[in-house]
Subunit: 222 residues, 2 copies
């Protein structure tokens, strides 16, 4: 028989999954705002951020109440503690989308990005949505194979991040220092977004298996 505890835990997990999806959407919109110098869209991401922050606060409180009222043990305890840690990662994913939108707003009506690098950021934005969705699926299915897929998406993001740096450093960069500073920060925000999505997946797998596997393609983030 399912207990009230398990129903509440499932509700919490759904909420965390929903937050991952919202963070992905926020990063997608922030990317569009960046690529199109779209101030309205940037402002929307900035005001929508409140929603993710509120969901975070509620999820953390919900996990705390579960601990306080149900005193779970063993695997159940690990699940709730894991949820509290996951909240911090998802909250951060939302904050990174916010940072991207703020750079788009700061440079408006200029484009923050030189046209030469638009393609990289379009692809990073696409990956961010995927990462948000995959993190949500991993939360809902607790499937280690999907968790491994998130690692592939993260590898793709890291490749783009490194590639952008070589574009700035190795070739003749003609767009000045301000653009280089913006591109450096923006690229870092996408890379960190991906790292946090991987961390969500790692924690889910830990909840399921009770250990961080060294051979599941989900290394510790540093």
């Amino acid at each position: 028989m399912r207990t009230a505890y398990h129903e509440q835990l499932e509700g919490l997990t759904n909420r965390l999954g929903e937050m991952c999806g919202l963070a992905g959407v926020a990063m997608e919109r922030a990317t569009q705002a960046l690529l199109q110098a779209d101030l309205v869209l940037a402002e929307q991401v900035i005001s929508d951020h409140e929603q993710i922050a509120t969901l975070s606060a509620h999820a953390e409180e919900q996990a705390f109440v579960l601990l306080a009222l149900q005193s779970p043990v063993a695997g159940d305890l690990r699940s709730v503690v894991g949820s509290i840690q996951i909240v911090a990662d998802v909250d951060r994913m939302g904050a990174l989308a916010l940072h991207v939108a703020k750079i788009a707003r700061r440079r408006h009506p200029q484009h923050a990005l030189p046209e030469e690098v638009n393609g990289y950021f379009a692809e990073m934005g696409r990956l961010a949505v995927e990462l948000g969705n995959t993190a949500q699926e991993v939360l809902l299915t607790q499937d280690p194979e999907r968790a491994a897929r998130i690692q592939e998406e993260d590898d793709a993001m890291d490749d783009l991040h490194r590639h952008l740096f070589s574009v700035m450093m190795d070739r003749e960069w003609k767009h000045g220092v301000t653009a280089a500073v913006d591109v450096t920060l923006l690229s870092r925000f996408y890379e960190r977004f991906a790292d946090h999505a991987v961390e969500v997946a790692r924690r889910v797998i830990f909840q399921v298996t009770g250990r961080f596997s060294d051979d599941d393609g989900l290394p510790t983030i540093h």
Copy 2:
């Protein structure tokens, strides 16, 4: 009468404080490695990082065991949950010091920094040690006044961060794009280090008071 539970919680808090101190020292050494292009010191920070990572894993496990065996309630529960969240922040402080050391190593035998900005980073390194020490004091004393002091140190770090950006963007920057990219990333690492120290203090104050005060100068980090 003091219970075994409270002794164990105190042990955990001391360990977290020690980790804050170690993260500050790591950032100080990484800064020296950066300023002096000192490969040996950079390598030392990189190998010492394992120690902070191990302490993190132990602290997290210790908090988990406290939850599992003692099923604390109310304020005690908040303390243990807060400790688990603090572990993630301190772990990240150590990782940021590691990132600084890795940039120093990557550029060796060159200096990563143009001499013009050495003074900023020397000051950021000094602030990082202070922030690590203040976070440790806040953990040990749970004193809201010291928690407010950490906000001042964070403000000073933010000022340096902004100032560095204006040096790169507003003046005639003669050091090329590679140096600008390095300075951007490095400055961001110090700024984030400070943010995490503030977050540690916020969580301690939450443990003590049961709320995040809006008027204690410790705003939510994003």
